[in-house]
């Protein structure tokens, strides 16, 4: 909502209030001033340079009086305007302004035309460039005639884009007055929240300003003398859906002359962001901006003709099947069954409250005007706006709610302005169908309830004073204030909600900057913690300690993207379930909620490979699995992706082993460190045949007998599909919820022996098929109490080990908690282990 201050000042006196203070108070009161536009007046603190800005030079930009328009001797499309401005000699301005041509060669004008005169040296916008660049006027010859000054268009002054003709000011503009003084202005651009429907008008804002500063609000005049015959008999109203159209009014003005509206009106419409059309349409728009009541003017004679040469009946109703309407913007519209229409007996005339129809519009030839003022159900208006994708100024207001009482004020004010600007005779009386009178809202506000909610006690007198400023009628009855809500406040409810609504008004007017903060005195609720969050954060920390970078990817993806996780032609091991699918996706690559973290993570890995050869990522987040309930399951997952050289390159080079790409065992190491940091019990790994992974290079992680995820080297075809280059990519996805559910609440410290340990190596040859985990299990089992550590230090295949066999070498550590162990004792256990390996696994012990 744009509020020109000169307009605002018509209804409330604020000349003594500094702009800064006005902006501050409005913003604090919930009318956020998003922008301040300085029109022709200097910007405080100098131009910010954000937008082209021009302060009108008080010496060189003046109100001028064109006393004569002379033809240009050498050019048909130019004239010379003789402009008086209070100087010793008039200025002679060569101009091509088409709106001066009708005065050309008519000698001295009986009534001079007021215009904006720019004297030599004045700075104005360059009207031809229209890119915000400024120019300084200099004397020069135009087609042989010396010219040093000019009469200006709106574009040249930075008022609007209009450059078709020069500004013709109203006749009462004082000749010689600096333009800045005459019409320099400041426009506040307010960002209004949906509850501020009442402030979608200058008077609405003025009312707030009056309340905030304790001033009087002056309502605009709406008195006129109806001299025409009564409207009854000349038109009629029929409301078919009173719930959607609680009130409908008509006024009639006969004998108007369509033409441009006076400049003061045009100028205000411009500053408020609207385009002037003609005196009738401008009057309706002006009143809409002023009072908040959108109005619609019909060409009465068109309606009369449509009615077959009879007085028209205006009908408001829902559309009939197949009915269409061509709106003002030239668009032929199919009508939804919920769209309320203004019609006559011949068919639809306009989309009620949103946009007029093309046919019944006021035109240059219109002489009789039928004026509509109505109120509409705001939900119905919203639905139609959305369906038709129209966002007109009228719809913006009606869709937020306009009280039926305002229709009457708007109608009277508009009839008055139309007559003032277009002449004619106002029919006596108005037609008023009001089948659903709005109830008066009354609220009983206990004085104590204000302090209870706000934490600051207000007296009944204080409350009454604050609320009265906004035209709430208050009556104190003991501890309760009986409040009658004014009709422009449709946002105030009744009962307890009404109390809250009023308390907010009290706090807002009092000013939030005046409340001192307090500490919560209320009892502290039971402190339970959040174990899921705590353990999720433990997992994050564990992975960060393992050297991984956390990433967070989009939870939206496409089924096609996730399908790339399965090599072409392979049977997918991902669960075959539906997706949570968007009904209104905004882009083609985000249409469903993900089933897995991996697709998004691999995309991130691929995009980073442009800058880095080494990536090591993890992500913790939800996936979305539809189920029988209306809302999907949202299980938490952990994803890991690693790829690239084991160690980063540096000037020191890297040891041979560390230059090689990370492989399965790098990922396994990360997972072992995670499992260990979380103290997960009974962890085992089993080979996995999951379709996304390299056959024979993937494992299932089991904790306490439950499968909690799969990890391994990604299938080369999957790497290719995600454009991940040639190095192996390690990846895994884990069911985090199950995993963190298995973290023990606590664990015991293992005792540390004070006695010396004995280390003995053992090397054995077993079948390739025997997993290392099984060997280790046998060692532990046979080792008993004294075995403290098992460390695999070599795996060897090839000569002299027979094919199909492998050599495993372990260092075993023996230690007692009671005494220093003798070698003899350790060797005894060692031999027992060797025997068990031979017996249970058919191992051949080499040392």
């Amino acid at each position: 909502m744009k509020v020109p201050l000169r307009w605002l000042k018509e209804y409330v006196d604020i000349d003594d209030i500094p702009l800064e203070e006005l902006v501050r108070r409005l913003t604090f009161a919930g009318l956020e001033v998003a922008k301040v536009r300085y029109v022709g007046v200097p910007e405080p603190g100098g131009a910010s340079g954000r937008e082209p800005h021009l302060a009108w030079d008080r010496e060189k930009l003046l109100v001028g009086a064109i006393t004569e328009v002379r033809p240009h001797p050498n050019a048909d499309r130019l004239v010379i305007a003789v402009v008086e401005y209070g100087g010793p000699e008039p200025e002679y301005c060569v101009t091509g302004a088409p709106n001066l041509f009708e005065y050309q060669g008519k000698g001295p004008l009986p009534q001079p035309l007021k215009a904006v005169l720019a004297l030599e040296g004045a700075v104005v916008f360059d009207g031809h460039k229209n890119d915000g660049s400024l120019m300084k006027l200099r004397g020069r010859k135009i087609r042989g005639i010396y010219n040093r000054s000019m009469v200006c268009s709106e574009r040249e002054l930075g008022i609007s884009d209009e450059h078709e003709g020069i500004i013709i000011l109203d006749p009462d503009a004082p000749t010689g007055m600096p333009l800045q003084d005459y019409m320099g202005d400041i426009v506040l651009d307010l960002d209004l929240t949906p509850n501020m429907a009442r402030c979608w008008s200058i008077v609405g804002v003025a009312r707030e300003v009056a309340a905030l500063f304790g001033r009087e609000l002056r309502m605009p005049p709406d008195d006129f003398s109806p001299t025409g015959p009564p409207i009854e008999g000349q038109a009629a109203i029929r409301i078919e859906k009173p719930d959607l159209n609680p009130r409908f009014m008509l006024g009639l003005l006969r004998g108007v002359k369509i033409g441009p509206s006076p400049y003061w009106m045009q100028y205000r419409l411009r500053l408020a962001g609207m385009r002037p059309i003609n005196n009738i349409v401008d009057s309706t728009n002006y009143v809409m901006l002023e009072l908040g009541e959108p109005l619609h003017a019909f060409d009465y004679d068109t309606l009369y003709r449509r009615a077959g040469g009879k007085p028209p009946t205006i009908i408001t109703r829902l559309p009939k099947p197949g009915e269409k309407l061509t709106t003002l913007d030239g668009e032929e519209r199919e009508l939804d069954p919920f769209t309320i229409l203004v019609c006559d007996t011949a068919g639809p005339l306009s989309l009620a409250g949103i946009m007029g129809g093309l046919e019944s519009e006021v035109e240059d030839t219109t002489t009789n005007v039928l004026l509509e003022a109505a109120s509409w159900d705001f939900i119905s208006i919203r639905r139609t706006m959305k369906a038709q994708k129209i966002d007109s100024e009228a719809a913006a207001r009606f869709s937020r709610g306009v009280h039926p009482a305002i229709a009457e004020r708007g109608l009277r004010r508009c009839l008055m302005l139309m007559q003032q600007t277009a002449g004619g005779e106002i029919a006596s009386g108005v037609l008023d169908e009001y089948p659903r009178p709005a109830p008066t809202v009354e609220v009983d506000l206990p004085v104590g309830s204000v302090g209870r909610l706000l934490g600051v006690d207000f007296t009944a007198e204080q409350i009454v004073e604050l609320l009265s400023g906004l035209e709430f009628r208050c009556e104190v009855k003991g501890d309760v204030i009986h409040v009658t809500v004014p009709d422009h406040r449709m946002d105030i409810g009744s009962g307890l909600i009404g109390q809250f609504d009023l308390i907010e008004e009290i706090a807002r007017l009092y000013g939030y900057d005046r409340f001192e903060g307090t500490q919560i005195a209320d009892e502290l609720p039971p402190q339970r913690g959040n174990i899921v969050l705590e353990r999720t954060e433990m997992v994050r920390d564990a992975l960060v300690r393992a050297g991984l970078q956390e990433i967070i990817t989009y939870r939206l993806t496409t089924p096609e993207r996730e399908a790339l996780l399965t090599p072409p032609g392979a049977r997918s091991d991902w669960p075959d379930v539906e997706y949570v699918r968007l009904a209104n996706p905004i882009s083609r690559d985000k249409v469903v909620m993900r089933h897995t973290l991996l697709a998004g993570m691999l995309d991130v890995a691929a995009s980073n490979l442009r800058y880095r050869e080494h990536v090591a990522f993890f992500e913790v987040g939800k996936v979305f699995i539809p189920c029988d309930a209306p809302l999907p399951d949202e299980p938490l997952r952990l994803g890991i992706v690693m790829r690239g050289p084991r160690r980063p390159e540096s000037w020191l080079g890297r040891p041979d082993d560390d230059a090689s790409p990370m492989d399965f065992y790098d990922l396994k190491g990360v997972i072992e460190s995670l499992v260990e940091q979380l103290h997960l019990p009974e962890v085992t790994y089993r080979p996995s045949e999951h379709s996304s992974f390299h056959p024979g290079r993937a494992a299932e992680l089991n904790v306490s007998g439950r499968n909690v995820g799969v990890f391994g080297e990604l299938h080369p075809l999957v790497c290719k599909a995600f454009d991940l280059g040639d190095m192996p990519v390690l990846a895994g996805e884990f069911d985090l919820e199950t995993l963190i559910g298995l973290i023990p609440a606590t664990y015991k410290m293992k005792p540390i022996s004070r006695y010396e340990a004995i280390r003995q190596d053992i090397a054995l040859i077993v079948d390739e098929a025997v997993p290392a985990a099984e060997v280790e299990a046998v060692i532990w089992e046979a080792g008993g109490q004294l075995l403290r550590g098992v460390r695999l230090f070599d795996v060897y295949r090839g000569d002299p080990i027979p094919p199909g066999k492998k050599n495993l070498a372990y260092t075993l550590m023996y230690q007692s908690y009671e005494r220093t162990l003798t070698t003899k004792k350790a060797s005894k256990v060692h031999a027992k282990i060797a025997k068990a390996l031979e017996r249970r696994l058919g191992a051949k012990i080499r040392a």
Binding site: S48, L453, L496, V580, M593, N608, L631
Partner: protein, 341 residues
């Protein structure tokens, strides 16, 4: 023979002077005081002397042996020190060369900010409550006092799913309803972090998914001034004790009164810049007193209970804290971005 011994003594001392490294030193040791050294052998010859001369010779011989041993050790130390000094001198390295890279893991900046937020609120007794991403229309809007077709619905551009009445939460506020229904009639102090979604074109300023942290306090005596005090404490804890905080009227359908919390612009110090849209203030959170309709929908009698709620965006906070000018960095996950935090 005593003279011979004295001569040998002088010769040994002289020779010791000339030994300048470990090897020469060991040679000297062998030559003079080793088991077959000249001094040792001469001392053994004590038996060749007449018995009356033997004690004097013996005394002197022992003295000389001790002195030579002491001289040897001192010389050895000296040589050791010289050697160390030489080694240290030649062992200088270029300390300005870069170190061996360490691979460090890091948390995503959003997680880091979330943790800071959790920590501050935890100290004030607010615990974390987690809620779902895919919501029903009822909980996301209607129960929060935003009925269908209400103008306030325009405040959220919503992703709907193909299942009627199911959408992606546009804010964490539906978690308020879920928390209240779980805890009523206990008093509540929770924060609700989570991913939210808006139907918006992705740009430097807006994302289709973003974290939000909602807060909710419900009790018998929760007041607007408590909200103001608590939020001010939070903002100053997060951004620094010297920061200015202001509250101004705003509108959210689920709170009344509703307020916007502004922080004096970190970037320009309040003078006005493009980040604060030349106002000198940055919007940092929305908040207000829980609307009676929402309290009732949550299972609390609004005549008996009051509450406050607030909401903030961790990405926006992170952007302000570190001068990040483009929200797309967050889910872009460029390592060059992530490794800066």
């Amino acid at each position: 023979m005593l003279d011979q011994l004295e001569a040998l003594y002088r010769e040994a001392l002289e020779a010791l002077e000339g030994a300048s490294d470990d090897e020469a030193l060991r040679g000297w040791e062998r030559e003079y005081i080793g088991r077959k050294g000249k001094v040792t052998l001469m001392v053994r010859r004590v038996g060749e002397l007449p018995p009356e001369e033997r004690p004097a010779f013996g005394r002197r011989a022992n003295e000389i042996k001790r002195e030579l041993q002491a001289a040897f050790e001192q010389r050895a130390r000296q040589i050791e020190q010289e050697k160390l000094a030489r080694e240290l001198e030649s062992g200088a390295i270029d300390v300005t060369l870069p170190g061996r890279p360490v691979q460090v893991g890091r948390l995503h900046p959003s997680t880091q900010t979330l943790r800071r937020i959790y920590d501050i609120w935890a100290e004030m007794g607010f615990q974390v409550y987690l809620s779902r991403d895919v919501e029903d229309d009822e909980t996301n809007f209607t129960l929060l006092n935003i009925p269908p077709h209400h103008p306030a619905r325009d405040m959220w551009d919503t992703f709907y799913t193909t299942r009627p009445g199911v959408l992606l939460r546009t804010h964490t506020s539906p978690g308020q309803i879920r928390a209240m229904r779980e805890f009523a009639p206990e008093p509540i102090r929770v924060i609700l972090p989570g991913m939210c979604y808006r139907y918006e074109q992705i740009s430097a300023r807006s994302e289709i998914q973003f974290y939000q942290v909602e807060g909710l306090a419900v009790g018998h005596n929760i007041r607007l001034t408590d909200l103001i005090g608590t939020m001010s404490d939070f903002v100053r804890r997060l951004f620094g004790p010297e920061r200015k905080v202001r509250f101004r009227a705003s509108y959210f359908p689920f709170t009344e009164p509703s307020l916007e919390v502004d922080l004096d612009c970190i970037l320009c110090g309040g003078k006005g810049c493009s980040v604060c849209k030349h106002t000198g203030w940055l919007e940092i959170a929305g908040c207000g007193m829980v609307h009676p309709v929402v309290l009732r929908n949550g299972g609390y009698d609004p005549e008996e209970f009051t509450g406050f709620a607030f909401g903030m965006g961790p990405e926006r906070i992170t952007m302000l804290l570190y001068g990040i000018d483009d929200i797309r960095y967050f889910w872009g996950n460029d390592i060059r971005f992530l490794e800066q935090f």
